[in-house]
């Protein structure tokens, strides 16, 4: 990748981002950084703007003010062709899976390869089967999205995000609705991608055990701001009053 030489700073940088929907202010001076090759988890109460944050990072939403830089490039200044190129280096796991409802599981995962590469049928099949094995659904190829559970949709969504070997993956609650065993293996997968391939990840996550396994850093989002950004050890021992309230007595 020729552009990589110039990209030495953080993979994602939010500076003073504000975003409102009508009267509702969701982000209000939000700043954060994700270093290259690291995993940052975002925590926060439901409806606080975690998904909105991820959508800013991939250009599905644009900030009202402030800047969002990805791979060192201000996303609001990128042309649509540049944005498309940036997105090819990124993976996005949607909260509800967002599988294409008229394509089978296998075709959903194969779609980015069919649309954006010249790979042959055999190569595509091999790659897709490999990704389906990674998320523990090796035999799901022919199932339709309407036939599978929410947790399984999420896993197909992860397989689809991984199919193009992205450098940066954004996960919106990858473990919600998964049983602990599968959740552990998904966490191990996130970790493996980071350690083996140097993938950077931004993970929206609720479960403390998951956060402890995958994250290099944790960020607490509330009131439109990043209240705390710290490594897990420090984060879970923080005596920030808002965090103490969020976790209740257990962590205090």
């Amino acid at each position: 990748m020729t552009t990589q030489a110039t990209e030495t700073g953080p993979v994602i940088r939010f500076t003073d981002v504000c975003k409102r929907f009508g009267e509702k202010v969701v982000l209000d001076g939000f700043s954060m950084e994700l270093s290259r090759g690291k995993t940052l988890s975002i925590m926060g109460p439901s409806g606080v703007g975690k998904s909105v944050t991820l959508k800013h990072a991939i250009g599905l939403l644009t900030a009202d003010s402030g800047s969002v830089e990805v791979f060192g490039r201000d996303i609001s200044e990128a042309t649509s062709a540049e944005l498309a190129e940036m997105r090819k280096r990124m993976g996005y796991v949607f909260q509800e899976g967002a599988l294409i409802n008229w394509l089978s599981v296998g075709e959903n995962v194969a779609l980015p390869l069919r649309e954006n590469t010249d790979l042959g049928e055999d190569e595509i099949r091999t790659l897709v089967e490999e990704r389906l094995r990674l998320v523990h659904i090796p035999d799901a190829w022919d199932l339709m999205p309407s036939e599978i559970s929410g947790g399984m949709k999420k896993r197909v969504g992860i397989a689809r995000a991984l199919i193009t070997d992205p450098e940066l993956i954004l996960y919106d609650e990858p473990n919600a609705g998964l049983d602990p065993e599968i959740a552990r293996s998904i966490n191990a997968l996130i970790r493996e991608l980071q350690e083996g391939l140097g993938v950077s990840s931004l993970v929206v996550e609720h479960r403390i055990d998951c956060i402890k396994t995958v994250s290099d850093e944790v960020l607490f989002l509330d009131g439109g701001k990043a209240l705390v950004q710290a490594d897990p050890e420090e984060f879970f021992h923080s005596n920030h009053p808002r965090l103490a309230r969020f976790f209740g007595k257990e962590s205090a």
Binding site: L60, E85, R87, F94, A98, I100, N101, L111, E115, N116
Partner: protein, 277 residues
């Protein structure tokens, strides 16, 4: 009473404002549709790559509407035959009934009926399908994967409908003329042979650009335009859907309403262009 006028007076400016806003939003959505059409036409070269989706769209649209086209076409032919036949009989001209039915089916009724049926069955389905994709984040998913949504979703529907509409129109014309023949035979005492001869003779004149039966191909051109317009309107409404299941309902409704208006307005201008200009 006084109270009522007061309320009315208060509401008037708001209503006027609303009317302006409605007109502006009408212009804006027409603009959007034309833009979508042009951007999709620029991808016409992708059609071979999308052949399977185009074929599926044609097949589904054909299957879903064929029986309706057969039934409605037959009865429209019968109605035209009966209505005009009664008047022609008063003048002793019932021999001409084949001519009238053939021409009105080919020029107007065939494409109009086919377009209306396609709007109600296929256009509404397209708006609902794409609308559902929009509200369940599937369109966003395509976006983040840098997949060309116009090429994948809009092009096959546009091409499929533009191709299936003239075929269905041909079917509609044919059953209409046959329906007219039944009525001519049974109620107006015009023999089958006489009817068919006059019907075929009526469609024979060629002209305007091509050396083909003019009334027939003028109607088929209309059908192609209607098919493309229905697909464009339905895709546009579907793609911009927001607001969950309610939003999907809203998009479907506007797609059907605006396509029917479109068919009528475009029909007038195409008739004017092909027969008067």
């Amino acid at each position: 009473m006084a109270e009522a006028t007061e309320i009315q007076a208060q509401e008037e400016p708001a209503a006027a404002l609303k009317k302006d806003a409605a007109f502006i939003s009408f212009l804006r959505s027409e603009g959007e549709r034309i833009e979508l059409l042009l951007r999709t036409l620029r991808r016409l070269g992708h059609t071979p790559k999308r052949a399977r989706l185009v074929y599926e769209q044609m097949f589904l649209s054909g299957i879903q509407t064929l029986h309706v086209v057969l039934l409605v076409g037959l009865f429209i032919g019968m109605i035209v035959s009966l209505q005009t036949g009664i008047e022609l009989a008063k003048l002793g001209q019932q021999d001409q009934i084949g001519t009238i039915v053939a021409i009105s089916m080919a020029r107007e009724m065939g494409p109009f009926i086919t377009g209306t049926i396609l709007t109600a069955t296929v256009g509404s389905a397209i708006a609902a399908e794409l609308g559902t994709m929009s509200v369940s984040n599937e369109l966003d998913a395509l976006k983040v994967m840098s997949i060309d949504r116009l090429s994948l979703l809009v092009l096959p529907r546009l091409v499929g409908l533009a191709l299936i509409a003239p075929l269905l129109t041909l079917v509609c014309d044919t059953v209409g003329i046959i329906g007219g023949a039944f009525v001519a035979q049974a109620q107006l005492n015009v023999g089958y042979e006489m009817y068919m001869t006059s019907a075929i003779d009526a469609l024979r004149p060629t002209g305007f650009l091509l050396n083909l039966p003019k009334d027939l191909y003028a109607g088929l051109i209309k059908a192609v335009v209607f098919g493309g317009m229905i697909a464009t309107v339905a895709c546009n409404e579907g793609l911009k859907t927001t607001g969950g299941a309610l939003g999907v309902g809203r998009s479907t409704r506007s797609a059907v309403r605006d396509s029917i208006i479109g068919i009528i307005v475009l029909n007038y201008f195409m008739t004017w262009f092909m027969y008067q200009a």
